[in-house]
């Protein structure tokens, strides 16, 4: 146990230590100031602008920004779908894999464009190297960059006054990719390769098992490069079906720790960037603390439940709940991974969440259901949390006798509409998706468990898709026409409706004047507000999901212990 605490503590300390310089660096990059990589990247950046025929100083109106995001993502959707359907007749397909079914291809395309990376397919048996690298690999970068771009558009809404533009999507997208995602991924994939991660375009390896003498096919591919961005961009889609539980995807304890760090690194540094960008580090710190407190609370709950939440068998070593976990990772880092991957909208796994104890599973599910705002997806997590902040400001702000304001901007009806879309859409579609699924007559055939755990499997799947997480509980047969189509649509809706709302919110905020700060202004950075924000996040989540959770993990827990 003490070893687990040391690892967890070390993890948090390193995470915070790294996030501060990275956040500051990112603000420099996004505001066009000279930063560490400028000498190298600036010529490249300028060249791309010239090629695209855009000018750095041409800013977009919210409508224009939304159009750019939607057209860009729409083309991405078609591209990822098309490449899968045509993979059989394209090169770099050593295993001669056929095209997946249309519904699976759609689901995968929707999944990667929406930064969900839900996987109804298994990489090694469905997708060619070309599809993996060119379609999925590229969109790992682009969907992550889109999220961060939109976040910065929102930040401009708070910074600017009386302005009708919120920056350029193309400039944002290119800067995030060039200065942040590509260099970080490059370094990280080299480290992974050094640790034994696989990176090749040669065909799968045939080996003869030593013990059984049976010939086995070991899947290979250009994996390490994709795994780096899978973690850094809170994508989570594994190169291989077993994700980071597979040794070639996550070979050592060190690679495991580094991947864990990279899950939360960018979302955490964005909190720092937020404070720096709005010119008040305390605001960034407050949100960072809210996320950290919720994260540590969840981590403690999962770890404790996994450690002591199993019946003791006399004469057997008390090892905690090891079912579905890799021995190399054990209960401790598997619990840490599970918490991190569901807190951030990452979705990669190094253990099977289906096998977690009911209460640990509940925490993982709940971290997704509160809207992926505890760090959450890169960009999207923070803008989701800002949605909750505005909601909190709205309820609490009135109690100090002023109309609500945040960072000097008054919260008015239009802003409230956008905030409601940001906060409302994910839970509504999670619940509707789950309801549709259980209404399907064949629903129980998709499950490996019955009773409350069976319901948990469905609820988890739709919570994952309905909040762009992408992790799987397991035990739920996801590759069906129903789940592929409905799930694909849900992933697109819950990604892009809030995203569009954020851009319009940004535009509306940027257009407002700044209200002066006085003694009568509600503090949005003190302990009281932090506590209140945590309460509101938990309350909205609990109010939305408690009844469903009661039929799933809570009933699971009570039926197991009693």
């Amino acid at each position: 146990m003490s070893q687990v605490i040391i690892v967890d503590g070390l993890y948090l300390v390193i995470l915070v230590a790294l996030s501060i310089p990275l956040g500051n660096y990112l603000v420099k990059v996004m505001t066009g100031k000279r930063a560490f990589l400028s000498p190298l990247m600036l010529p490249l950046e300028r060249m791309i602008y010239r090629l695209m025929g855009i000018r750095e100083e041409d800013e977009m109106s919210p409508g224009h920004y939304v159009l750019a995001v939607m057209v860009f993502s729409g083309l991405g959707l078609i591209f990822v779908f098309g490449l899968q359907m045509l993979q059989a007749s394209l090169p770099f397909n050593p295993e001669n894999l056929a095209a997946p079914s249309w519904d699976l291809a759609f689901n995968t395309a929707a999944s990667f464009v929406s930064n969900t990376n839900w996987q109804a397919y298994s990489g090694e048996s469905s997708l060619s190297y070309l599809t993996q690298a060119l379609a999925l690999g590229v969109w790992n970068f682009l969907s992550a960059a889109t999220g961060i771009a939109v976040l910065f558009a929102l930040l401009r809404g708070f910074i600017e006054t009386k302005k009708t533009t919120i920056g350029s999507f193309w400039v944002d997208l290119i800067r995030v990719s060039l200065y942040l995602l590509i260099p970080l991924s490059l370094v990280f994939s080299l480290v992974l390769v050094a640790q034994g991660g696989v990176q090749t375009i040669s065909p799968y390896h045939e080996i003869v098992a030593l013990e059984t003498g049976i010939t086995q096919s070991i899947p290979l591919g250009p994996a390490a490069s994709q795994i780096a961005i899978k973690q850094l961009g809170t994508n989570g889609g594994g190169f291989f079906g077993m994700n980071s539980a597979f040794p070639l995807e996550n070979p050592t304890a060190l690679s495991n720790f580094l991947q864990l760090l990279s899950i939360l690194l960018i979302p955490a540094s964005l909190c720092v960037a937020f404070g720096k960008a709005v010119g008040d580090m305390k605001q960034g710190r407050a949100i960072y603390l809210v996320m950290l407190i919720l994260f540590v609370g969840a981590l403690a709950a999962v770890t404790i439940s996994e450690t002591i939440g199993v019946p003791l068998v006399p004469g057997v070593l008390d090892s905690g709940n090891l079912e579905g976990k890799e021995i190399i990772h054990g209960v401790g880092t598997s619990a840490l991974w599970g918490t991190a991957t569901t807190a951030a909208s990452n979705g990669s796994v190094n253990a099977m969440h289906d096998s977690f104890t009911p209460l640990a599973g509940l925490v993982l599910m709940f971290l997704m259901q509160i809207g992926e705002v505890v760090f959450g997806g890169v960009g999207s997590g923070l803008y989701g949390m800002i949605g909750f902040v505005i909601l909190t400001v709205f309820m609490a702000g009135l109690m100090v006798g002023r109309t609500p304001e945040y960072l000097g901007k008054k919260v008015e009806p239009f802003d409230m509409k956008m905030v409601c879309l940001i906060v409302l859409v994910p839970p509504v579609f999670t619940l509707l998706g789950t309801a549709l699924a259980v209404l399907m007559p064949q629903a129980s055939d998709w499950l490996t468990n019955s009773g409350p755990h069976g319901f948990s499997e469905i609820l988890y799947a739709f919570s994952s898709m309905g909040n762009n997480n992408g992790s799987a509980f397991g035990g739920f047969a996801a590759n069906t026409v129903f789940t592929n189509v409905v799930g694909g649509l849900i992933m697109l809706i819950v990604r892009f409706v809030p995203l569009v709302a954020v851009v319009f919110l940004a535009g509306n905020l940027a257009n407002k004047k700044m209200v002066a700060k006085t003694e009568g202004t509600l503090s949005t950075s003190n302990a009281l507000f932090i506590g209140l924000l945590i309460a509101i996040v938990l309350l909205i989540g609990a109010l939305s999901f408690l009844p469903a959770l009661a039929l799933g993990p809570i009933a699971d827990y009570f039926t197991a212990v009693i």
Partner: protein, 685 residues
């Protein structure tokens, strides 16, 4: 007694209104309550279906749920109706003032004998009418000729008549008021239907009440929450059927229970009280005799963080008082006092009287009868800026330093350097110097002191804690202004204020992100009033000022601004407090309902039944009865507003969170448990 009668009438009227408001068109305006309304209809239908042997739940239980839901809707209607009641009563009395009268319409203001009699409702803007003593002024207008005393009690409730005259800042007259003396020629400024009285009736009645921006934003939030809860409740039907199939036990939950759950979770408390809070806030403003031209203004009042306060009447007592006689060398203080008193004997201004009194107090100099002395009084004029008496060949004068200097020099005397020094010193100390002279000799200076009102310093201190900056506006010179500003503890001052300077000051603060409130009455205040976020025009002021402002103070009291801010803040706080309370309530309702809801599927879930409620039926009934009763219980709070204190935002939040957040968590636990016990005892569980 009369008041009781009025309250009784309002109550009876409100009960009647609760039923008439059941019309779907009215219900649709409040989406949260509309959901309850639909729920009531559906459960009633389910009850009726039970006669056809289609049973969703036990018929008696469904009926009980249906009845409670109908009561919830009625309670919400009642809350709104009772809030409107006071305004409606006030509107009725105003309406009686707005009767159609005959007006003498003139061809031109030159000849009042040539007129046609027309009904007041047919008057157009720009028409000229003639009104005589004893008649009612037909419609709003500007006096273009004549002067008269007017009884404006129909609007202000103040029975003392006021003077209205052509030209200057007292030329506006309001339709429905009555001439007490003389006659007026009035040019019509507003047509029937748009007059001040019409606006006033519409405002107090709430007929033209548009939802304020903050109210709209809150409503959006409430609708969003309702949509979530609608989905949460509706999806429980498939979830529970699936779960019961999976568990091989129990049944899915009934439609009746789904509706009950939805009503419990939806923010009905704040949904039901939201419009009552807004109307009550407006009503409190009306009771303070302030008429807001829009609900927006009252919200802005809560946000105001810069108050421009006129010095006179707000910070200082209206009148300056003589406090010291400062003679120049060679003159005794008593001689100065004597001359000063003589010069003021016939001076009826408060300053003049205070000089007489001070002389009496200091040297026991009795006031003398000016006639007995055979003296003649020289009154103050704007030109001479002096007053005094001519007495036994002496000319005694008191007045502004410059004026007296000119007087002395003209009489062949000289104006001593020493006097100049004294004048300067008095001004620096915040006083007003009056120089006294006899013929060509300067005697000394009377120190007129501005008296800062009791308690204003503490008041401004409190406002500062709330983040509200006070700025004193005065025509005084900067030296005098600074001294008074320091004594009164205002944050800043604008000396030698001109309308342009005021306007510039407001713009300056607004550019820095502040919201500014001010009062004004003159036509030259109009631009500043139009610029300010909260602009209170005095009712005694001109038409232009009233039109530029977004509130009218019927009492024309300069201190009103502070009350207006308080009312605005209290309105917003009440809204926030009840929203928080409403949402916090849901936690307890969940703990009451969820365990029992799925009891048949997973009996083990009773482990969550920490409240130990008797049965599913008693728990659900207790929760929705609580849900209905809490609306009634909170009506007084919604009408009165939450307690208001002038403390910093952090403390205010802490206090309100403790009461309404924590209170909102705990109250329903206790109440639902008690109701459940009661239902069990009555055998209804």
């Amino acid at each position: 007694m009369e008041n009781n009668e009025l309250n009784k009438n309002i109550l009876i009227d409100a009960i009647r209104q609760s039923f008439t408001k059941l019309s779907p068109r009215v219900q649709l305006k409040n989406p949260v309550m509309f959901v309850v309304f639909v729920g009531a209809i559906m459960t009633t239908a389910l009850y009726l279906l039970s006669f056809a042997q289609i049973n969703d739940e036990g018929a008696g239980y469904t009926l009980a749920i249906a009845l409670i839901l109908w009561f919830t809707v009625l309670f919400a209607n009642f809350a709104e109706a009772i809030a409107e009641g006071r305004g409606r009563a006030q509107a009725d009395s105003l309406r009686s003032a707005r009767k159609d009268v005959k007006a003498r319409k003139l061809k031109s203001s030159a000849d009042v004998a040539v007129y046609t009699e027309v009904p007041s409702s047919s008057l157009k803007k720009g028409d000229i009418v003639y009104v005589k003593s004893g008649e009612q002024i037909p419609i709003d207008g500007d006096v273009i000729e004549g002067a008269a005393s007017v009884d404006e009690s129909a609007i202000t409730g103040e029975s003392a008549p006021v003077i209205r005259e052509s030209g200057g800042d007292r030329s506006a007259v309001t339709g429905g008021t009555t001439l007490m003396s003389d006659w007026l020629v009035i040019q019509v400024t507003a047509e029937a239907g748009e007059s001040f009285l019409d606006k006033m009736i519409a405002m107090v009645e709430g007929a033209s009440r548009k939802k304020t921006p903050n109210e709209v934003a809150l409503q959006i939030l409430l609708i969003a929450l309702t949509i979530i809860f609608l989905v949460v409740s509706a999806t429980l039907l498939p979830f529970s059927y699936f779960a019961s199939k999976q568990a091989g036990a129990g049944t899915g939950i009934s439609i009746t229970n789904v509706i009950a759950l939805l009503v419990c979770l939806a923010p009905t408390t704040i949904g039901a009280l939201l419009s009552a809070i807004g109307i009550a806030g407006m009503s409190r403003l009306n009771q303070a005799n302030v008429l807001a031209m829009s609900g927006r203004a009252i919200e802005a009042a809560g946000d105001v963080d810069v108050l421009l306060l006129d010095k006179t009447g707000t910070i200082t007592l209206g009148n300056r008082q003589a406090s010291v006689f400062i003679p120049i060398t060679g003159v005794t203080e008593k001689a100065l006092a004597d001359a000063a008193q003589l010069s003021s004997l016939a001076d009826e201004t408060a300053e003049g009287r205070s000089i007489v009194v001070l002389a009496k107090e200091r040297f026991d100099l009795r006031g003398r009868d000016i006639k007995a002395l055979g003296a003649s009084f020289v009154p103050f004029t704007a030109k001479t800026r002096m007053s005094g008496i001519d007495f036994q060949g002496q000319q005694i004068r008191k007045g502004a330093a410059e004026a007296v200097k000119a007087f002395v020099l003209a009489n062949g005397g000289d104006y001593p350097e020493e006097c100049q020094e004294i004048v300067k010193k008095v001004a620096n100390d915040g006083g007003t110097p009056l120089v006294v002279a006899r013929n060509n000799q300067v005697l000394g200076v009377i120190y007129l002191k501005d008296v800062v009102k009791n308690g204003v310093k503490e008041r401004f201190e409190d406002l500062r804690k709330m983040g509200i900056k006070t700025i004193m506006i005065t025509g005084d010179n900067p030296m005098t202004a600074a001294a008074i500003a320091a004594e009164a503890g205002v944050d800043d001052f604008l000396a030698e204020a001109t309308p342009e300077a005021k306007l510039a000051l407001i713009r300056d603060y607004q550019a820095k992100g502040h919201l500014v409130a001010m009062t004004g009455d003159g036509t030259n205040d109009a631009p500043a009033l139009a610029q300010a976020d909260v602009a209170v025009a005095m009712n005694t002021g001109t038409q232009a000022a009233k039109e530029a402002g977004n509130m009218v103070d019927l009492d024309s009291s300069p201190t009103k601004l502070i009350d207006i801010v308080r009312i605005g803040k209290q309105l917003l706080m009440t809204r926030g407090a009840l929203t928080t309370f409403s949402v916090a309530n849901d936690v307890a309702k969940y703990f009451a309902i969820i365990p029992v809801l799925f009891f048949s599927i997973y009996p083990q879930l009773m482990g969550l039944n920490i409240m130990g409620l008797t049965s599913a039926k008693s728990a659900i009934l207790a929760a929705i009865i609580y849900n209905a009763l809490i609306i009634i219980a909170l009506i007084p709070l919604a009408l009165k507003g939450v307690k208001y204190q002038e403390v910093a935002a952090g403390k205010l939040l802490q206090r309100n969170l403790l009461i309404y957040g924590l209170g909102g968590l705990v109250a329903p636990f206790v109440a639902i448990k008690l109701l459940d016990m009661l239902l069990t005892v009555l055998g209804l569980g």
